[in-house]
């Protein structure tokens, strides 16, 4: 090693020893007759599974060479949570770094071990990446493949190279866990179950968002989700709230109970957990004490036009907010003592506290919207009078009547809405020790979980049971997975796939529910039409039955001569045009009486549409 300056001058003859290499096997390959097998991780041409690809475009965004463009594919029908765009790669630019693979949330984009492209036409250098699943023509099995024709249109099947691995991905597949009250503690009271993110947690969760905006397409109200999440990441909750209010004036409510269609679309949810968009919205609204100061929005100059909004639910509140900002005079009528509509009575306190509702409602009121609470239209004030005295009317009445199973003795059952309302804003309900809830939707979950809490409060230390019976089996149960999991964790028992036959009553007291096995819930056309095995029966013991099988609207306040003019769709929804206008002159509508989604955010979307329509109507631009 440390041969100092005393260097050997070397030999003249010894180098000839190298002659022996003449007789050894050469190291070079006789290409193309001898080929080198690329390594299993080889980074060659792209493969893309079109079925898994969501068209989110993250690959195109990360590409340092702008080699990837998203191309619209007309054959692919756009679905919620998916764009009909697929990446096209320009191999004149691609440097085969594989960043696109590491950022691909569904893991559809991969690199293959193909690297040969022999062609006379430089135009063939671009490739709409596919794989053997969707492109049988250009991906050939070993026996049909020839290296002399190797090109982007002549490739091997089953030749995957560098693939995505969640452990090494450039995104974070796991959510920042939301602090929650543990099930065994929360069933003992009505304290809010979800505690909300801290500043650090919210920033960390906001950081996960890749800004592909699939969620914004999926949201019925098209909130600018990626922008408000970005503002949270940048620690600007005011800015975030401003972005939210552009499309949704009730963030404190929606941040808690929204059905979060956006999260179902989130590209990160394809292999991991979606960004907690709803909780981030809640964070933005919770962080801002004073909406008015943070938003700094003022209504436009008064137009002198008067609009009546019937129903102070999410839709009514939104339409009031949007129209008030345009300078119209708004009066909101509602039979409840406060705003929120179904939100005020439906979601139990552990999901949506009254203070959160009032925070949103008070802000809207502070803009000059007049609220007439405890006013039932048709009783305290006549619809005819409203119809006469206002320039436009918005019907956001929702579905307020609980449906009944109409089985024998169903009059002994407690209607879900009444149960929820009494507990949330009324005197409370005395529950039984063994409660049976009929239904498998989110309202049924609310009822069951609330009943369980009441049982624990009213019978401390005693053995209490709450069970649900639903027509739908686990796979088609309409309640969200989250709700079902939470209910299970709290101890609610489930009996999926059973339908009610009769409520057994003895001496005027409920003894239990007789059920029969469900054959099918939907008929061949996909309509709700349950059939049963009459002979397969089950008896559930219980001293209280609550029916939570859906609600219907109540139009009784509209006088007959006007109601007859109101048109409905075949599915018994109020018919509205693209401006939210009904067949009645100057009456607009939205929410559960119009759409089939039956949730708050769709009501807001309807309200946004109707607010634009009403504004045009009031300006005389609409017939």
């Amino acid at each position: 090693m440390k041969e100092k300056s005393e260097v050997k001058k070397g030999s003249v003859l010894k180098p000839f020893k190298a002659i022996k290499y003449l007789f050894e096997k050469p190291g070079t390959l006789r290409y193309p007759f001898e080929q080198k097998e690329p390594s299993p991780r080889y980074r060659g041409f792209h493969l893309n599974d079109w079925d898994k690809c969501t068209g989110c475009g993250n690959c195109a965004d990360i590409c340092p060479n702008q080699a990837i463009t998203m191309v619209e594919i007309p054959e692919i029908k756009p679905k919620t949570g998916e764009k009909n765009e697929r990446p096209k790669i320009d191999y004149g630019r691609c440097c085969f770094c594989g960043l696109c693979v590491d950022i691909c949330p569904p893991g559809s984009l991969r690199l293959s071990r193909d690297y040969l492209h022999i062609h006379f036409d430089p135009g063939t250098f671009t490739l709409l990446a596919k794989d053997e699943k969707t492109d049988k023509e250009h991906f050939l099995p070993e026996e049909k493949y020839s290296i002399f024709q190797a090109s982007l249109a002549h490739r091997k099947t089953d030749n995957e190279g560098f693939v995505s691995d969640l452990k090494y991905s450039l995104f974070e597949p796991e959510r920042v866990p939301m602090p929650e009250v543990p099930p065994e503690k929360r069933v003992l009271s009505f304290m809010e179950q979800v505690l909300g993110y801290s500043r650090e947690e919210a920033k960390k969760e906001a950081l996960r968002c890749l800004e592909c905006k699939l969620c914004e397409d999926a949201c019925p109200a098209h909130l600018k989700i990626s922008e408000y999440i970005k503002a949270i990441y940048e620690d600007k909750p005011d800015e975030s709230l401003r972005k939210i209010f552009e499309d949704n004036p009730i963030p404190a409510i929606c941040g808690r109970i929204c059905m979060a269609h956006c999260e179902k679309a989130c590209s990160l949810g394809k292999r991991g957990e979606p960004v907690a968009i709803r909780w981030l919205k809640r964070y933005a609204s919770d962080m801002v004490e004073d909406y008015k100061k943070a938003l700094g929005v003022k209504p436009a100059k008064s137009t002198g036009k008067k609009v009546a909004v019937i129903g102070a639910g999410p839709g009514g509140l939104s339409v009031a907010y949007f129209l008030r900002l345009k300078g119209h005079e708004i009066t909101v009528f509602d039979s409840l003592p406060g705003g929120g509509g179904m939100m005020r009575i439906g979601p139990p306190l552990y999901r949506l506290p009254i203070e959160s509702i009032d925070k949103d409602v008070n802000y809207i009121a502070s803009l000059g919207v007049k609220f007439k609470f405890n006013t039932t239209v048709g009783k305290d004030i006549l619809f005819e009078d409203i119809y006469k005295n206002y320039d436009a009317i918005y019907l956001g009445i929702g579905t307020t009547v609980s449906r009944s199973t109409r089985v024998k003795n169903s009059d002994k059952a407690y209607p879900a809405l009444l149960f929820l309302k009494e507990n949330k804003i009324g005197k409370g309900v005395k529950v039984g020790r063994e409660v049976i809830v009929i239904g498998g939707g989110n309202v049924a979950m609310d009822v069951a979980r609330e009943a369980l809490r009441l049982q624990h409060i009213q019978y401390p230390g005693e053995k209490v049971v709450t069970k649900t019976v639903s027509l739908e089996d686990w796979d088609i149960m309409p309640a969200t997975k989250e709700e079902i999991e939470d209910a299970k964790a709290e101890g609610v028992q489930f009996n999926p796939g059973w339908g009610p036959k009769e409520i057994k009553v003895e001496d005027g007291k409920v003894k239990g529910l007789l059920c029969m096995k469900v054959k099918s819930v939907f008929d061949e056309q996909g309509r709700f039409n349950p059939t049963f095995y009459e002979d397969k029966e089950m008896f559930l013991e219980g001293d209280m039955v609550i029916e939570a099988i859906g609600q219907a609207p109540d139009f009784s306040f509209i006088p007959k001569e006007l109601f007859d003019k109101l048109e409905f769709t075949p599915r018994r929804k109020v018919k509205v045009d693209e401006n939210g206008k009904t067949s009645l002159p100057k009456v607009f509508a939205g929410g559960d009486i119009v759409n089939l989604n039956l949730d708050a955010v769709t009501a807001i979307a309807d309200a946004k549409r109707a607010a634009e329509g009403i504004d045009l109507y009031l300006k005389g631009k609409l017939k």
Binding site: S5, K9, G10, S11, A18, E172, L210
Partner: protein
């Protein structure tokens, strides 16, 4: 009269004896070079400026391209700077893997250097061996990273993927294959009398001058200075492995190439030790979402020992998602411009390529 005796001669970039996109303008009188001026601008790609327009992660496919011959030290130095600014920890196992990769890259680079030098002096047989052996190591890189030349493997937070199954055996096999040829290399090249005659006392530089002109790497070590960043400022796991820094006293081309040879043997030792000591566990601590990742304001200078000398990176962040300023201190800059021009003075035309390649100049890293 004297003006007519002088002649301007262009050496490169198309000259057969030129390796790389580089040219030298020579002013000669007969066979003697009076003045040389190096012109590295043939491969100017504006990397440092381009990097200011790309996000922290998007720069990774770029940094490695600054030096074609040994991209990994470029990746390493950038990853180290980013980690330092962003405060990212690297798992222990990843540090070992990084060391293995860097030493394999040193072997690749040195074998490439041997190829260039042997080729230049007409030892074509040895040159082909070196090229072949380099390719064997490239096969290992392909196995590990999925690419042969631009690996994009070392990145902030660790390395991009764990070692594939059976990788250790493959590396040891390849190293064994190459190692068993060392006697042949020695007899055909390093101990060849022709090589001695051709390289001895060529491109000689004194210790003082080497220090003054900013020489590092083999050029400085060939003058007897034990200067190696791996020892002075250990990074990765160089403080936990045992190796020597070969030095020589003469400061000429012959000594420099012998140091290259000895360093390759040291690299093999380092790789073996890393495989022995490497712990199990994670190899990558996730970096934040690349579309939102901002690095706190700050500036840093980090350096590594590349195969050609000290490679440094001065990186400034102003709190944005992109670097504010990137500046590389590349070893070929002083070697290829200052020292080369100096050593070429009074040399003969036949030695231009000889001296240039003994300085191990890699053109792309001079003009970033």
């Amino acid at each position: 009269m004297s003006q007519e005796r002088e002649l301007e001669l262009y050496f490169g970039p198309q000259h057969l004896g030129m390796v790389g996109n580089f040219s030298i303008t020579l002013k000669v009188e007969g066979d003697k070079i009076l003045e040389a001026s190096a012109n590295p601008g043939w491969l100017h790609r504006g990397f440092e400026k381009l990097m200011e327009y790309r996000t922290w992660i998007q720069n990774f496919p770029m940094v490695c391209r600054i030096n074609v011959v040994e991209p990994d030290s470029m990746e390493m130095v950038y990853a180290m700077a980013v980690e330092k600014l962003a405060g990212i920890e690297v798992p222990e196992r990843a540090n070992y893997i990084r060391t293995i990769v860097l030493e394999l890259a040193r072997l690749v680079s040195h074998l490439f250097g041997c190829w260039a030098y042997a080729n230049m002096l007409g030892f074509d047989t040895v040159a082909q061996w070196a090229m072949y052996h380099r390719d064997l190591i490239l096969d290992l890189f392909e196995e590990l990273t999925g690419a042969r030349v631009y690996h994009i493997y070392i990145w902030p937070g660790g390395v991009r993927r764990d070692l594939p199954e059976g990788f250790k055996d493959k590396v040891l096999n390849t190293l064994h294959t190459i190692g068993s040829c060392i006697p042949d290399y020695d007899s055909a090249f390093f101990n060849n009398r022709l090589f001695y005659e051709r390289a001895k006392n060529i491109g000689k530089i004194t210790r003082e001058e080497a220090k003054r002109l900013g020489a590092t790497g083999q050029i400085l070590r060939a003058t007897g200075v034990k200067y190696d960043i791996r020892k002075i400022e250990p990074y990765a796991v160089y403080d936990r492995v045992d190796f020597e820094v070969p030095t020589r006293e003469d400061g000429d081309a012959y000594s420099r190439i012998w140091i290259v040879r000895d360093e390759m043997i040291q690299s093999v030792h380092i790789i073996m030790q890393c495989f022995e000591k490497m712990p199990r566990g994670e190899v990558y601590n996730k970096v934040p979402n690349p579309f939102k990742w901002r690095i706190p304001e700050g500036e840093t200078y980090v350096r590594v020992e590349s195969s050609r000398g000290e490679l440094g990176l001065y990186l400034v962040s102003n709190g944005e998602d992109k670097p504010y300023r990137v500046h590389f201190r590349t070893p070929s800059y002083p070697h290829g411009l200052v020292i080369l021009e100096k050593l070429l003075k009074n040399a003969s035309i036949a030695d231009v390529g000889n001296i240039m390649i003994s300085l191990y100049v890699t053109a792309p890293e001079i003009d970033r």
